[in-house]
Subunit: 406 residues, 2 copies
């Protein structure tokens, strides 16, 4: 029997995006909203400033009273920030005013403190500024109802201040999907335990938790699973609700790969696809587990990481309803690449910029998917389509650059 | 009396860096170390792989037994991931092996599962791979003692996996300084409260908390302080230990500016400098409060934000012992700029890239330091040195680009 052709990477991504349903937006306190994405436009509830205010320390006067200088005005009241004057300025009068304080009625001009001489309850004015100068007009920054922040914006610290100053205390944001991490493999010991002969430290759990956080999800690491039939169901059953389940290992064809078996045998589970035309990442599984999407990643840490970048990130973006845009750019090869076979190849590469600002890609000599040291140093992945021809030094390749924190 | 010349920005930065003492490095669990900076090199405690392991599912054999094909070998044991075989392979024998499992003694060659036919306890081998192929050699990724991560690296998710796989469970990191935030102003109401006439929502607290987090600090927002003499001492006294105190407002010369007064009057406080040759940010204070450095920022939110970028970030970096490098680049002006006066000017600007990849800076029309809406939209700050000459459209300026999350 001819082997079924492996699913192309783009078809795998399409299947993930099509079958995952976007979660509802989440309303959160503005103090928690830093770096979250807005799910809607946000309009000002208040104008800023709410009233005309002084931009300086000085005196609020009528401009017609300071045409002929020097002149002498009577100080009748004070307007401080948060404590507006109650009186209005009338002919021959001034009101002491401080930065940020509301302009008193009747006044249209600020005289700077340093341009006055004070004697008891009067000031002598030597120099006057133009009417309106040093006055921040009501709504000068924004008016109630103005759109301050568009939908889909990742909120900065400055955006938080802008929203707060507009009277907004909650923001409608794209959700942070809850993602369960399950690592499988009898050889795994947890971080902090010295592995016995033949054992390995579980490095995938901590790596995926950090990646999922960087992708905008909330990671819940459920620890390691033994290579035993039925173990996945047992673990997930005991651990509440998730929006996405990510497993590692147990996805290959060996007798000790139980994740795929558990998915195929569980009555409420449906395997959407298994095995794709990709290197690393061929054993990738995408399934539905009692209504929750499940991505089964290969267990070699480089395969796990590359599949997280492509598929876990895409799944989280779809759960959020966000358009995912990879940072893809052209680079020139520093070493040749052989022609590619039928699997789309994602080649770990160093990236550097040469004198004329051209990006140079230097692929790792060994592309073994268990080798973490180069993966940690790499700047991105060269994408080699199936059957791509051999390339020489200086020829152009497309590179996905790793996102911040990845 | 001639006014004392204002302190230049570079002298203010030097004073901050000189007087702040770097905190000790912090040892933290690797699960908390994502995005933290390493304080030292980190060497592998274990080799990876620890032993020679198989990269595939198949059979471990002696290469000399598979020279003449087809051949027939007896399967005497199994080596699975985490469960090494106890037997050694002798002439005419094979051991069943799975991906990631330890190579049995005596074997130097992996026969792929798909190149064999199994009958009871024997396999017939139709095709053999070269000795060593599909075997991951001990220490191939890294050896115990290898330097895996340099000092001063911000840890990615991949770095976390690399360290975990090397048997490291704690990382020596640059500390996250504890930074107190104190906002002052009788006009301020907290987020969620509707301001009365003349009042404002305190937007600086939430903005600074987000910025301090983005700069690598741990922000503790102590809320707002009334414009009352002695209030600062009262609040700080009640709130434990900090590595840095950041105040906003109360730094100007008005009668209601009590922060500077409290600092000048408190017996254990020493004002290092007050007022600098900068726009916005002139009223900046740098003081020592019972041994803790204190930055007094102006209260207008744009001034607060710009001073946070320059001075709070520099103070946090010095507390960490980290070299701070701003993202400074050249841009061409889209609109002219007038000549500058004696204060170094930090002009809010939009940044865009034109067709020929040149960065274009479009300064905000109004540079009012109370206007948050443009500040939130801006991409950076044009730096205008004191007495810089007027510049026309297309002329070159230097721009600090805002960091992620700012």
């Amino acid at each position: 029997m001819a082997a079924k052709p492996l699913l192309p990477v783009s078809d795998a991504l399409d299947a993930i995006k099509t079958s995952i349903t976007t979660l509802p937006a989440e309303r959160i306190a503005i103090s928690k909203a830093h770096r979250r994405y807005t799910a809607d436009i946000h309009k000002a509830r208040l104008s800023h400033p709410a009233s005309d205010v002084s931009a300086m320390d000085g005196y609020a006067v009528r401009s017609e009273d300071v045409v002929d200088l020097p002149t002498n005005l009577k100080v009748i009241d004070e307007s401080a920030a948060g404590k507006p004057a109650t009186a209005a300025v009338q002919q021959g009068q001034a009101i002491r005013i401080f930065t940020g304080a509301v302009m008193p009625k009747g006044a249209d001009c600020i005289i700077l403190q340093e341009d006055t001489i004070k004697q008891n309850s009067h000031i002598t004015i030597a120099e006057a500024s133009d009417a309106g100068k040093f006055i921040r007009k009501a709504g000068q920054d924004f008016k109630a109802g103005d759109v301050l922040i568009p939908a889909g914006k990742q909120l900065t610290a400055r955006d938080i201040a802008l929203l707060a100053s507009a009277g907004i205390d909650e923001v409608l944001t794209l959700p942070a999907p809850r993602v369960a991490i399950v690592n499988s493999g009898d050889e795994l010991v947890e971080i902090g335990i010295t592995p016995a002969h033949g054992q390995l430290v579980n490095s995938n759990g901590a790596m995926l938790a950090a990646m999922i956080t960087a992708f905008g999800g909330e990671a819940v690491d459920l620890g390691s699973l033994p290579d035993k039939s039925g173990a996945l169901e047992h673990l997930l059953h005991a651990n509440g609700a998730f929006d996405l389940i990510v497993t590692t290992g147990g996805a290959s064809v060996g007798e000790h790969d139980h994740i795929i078996g558990d998915l195929q045998n569980h009555p409420q589970s449906k395997v959407n696809f298994w095995r794709i035309a990709m290197r690393p990442g061929k054993p990738l599984i995408f399934a539905d587990w009692d209504g929750v999407p499940l991505l089964g990643l290969p267990g070699n840490p480089v395969s796990t990481g590359v599949c997280a970048l492509l598929f876990v990130q895409a799944a989280i973006a779809k759960l959020q309803g966000r358009h995912l845009q990879h940072d893809i750019c052209s680079a020139r090869l520093a070493t040749p690449l052989p022609e590619n076979d039928k699997r789309e190849d994602y080649i770990r590469t160093n990236l550097s910029v040469c004198d004329d600002r051209v990006l140079i890609a230097t692929p790792a000599e060994k592309q073994d998917s268990a080798m973490l040291s180069f993966f940690a140093k790499a700047g991105g992945l060269i994408i080699r389509p199936p059957f791509a021809k051999a390339l020489g030094i200086g020829e152009e390749v497309q590179v996905i650059r790793f996102p911040t924190g990845f």
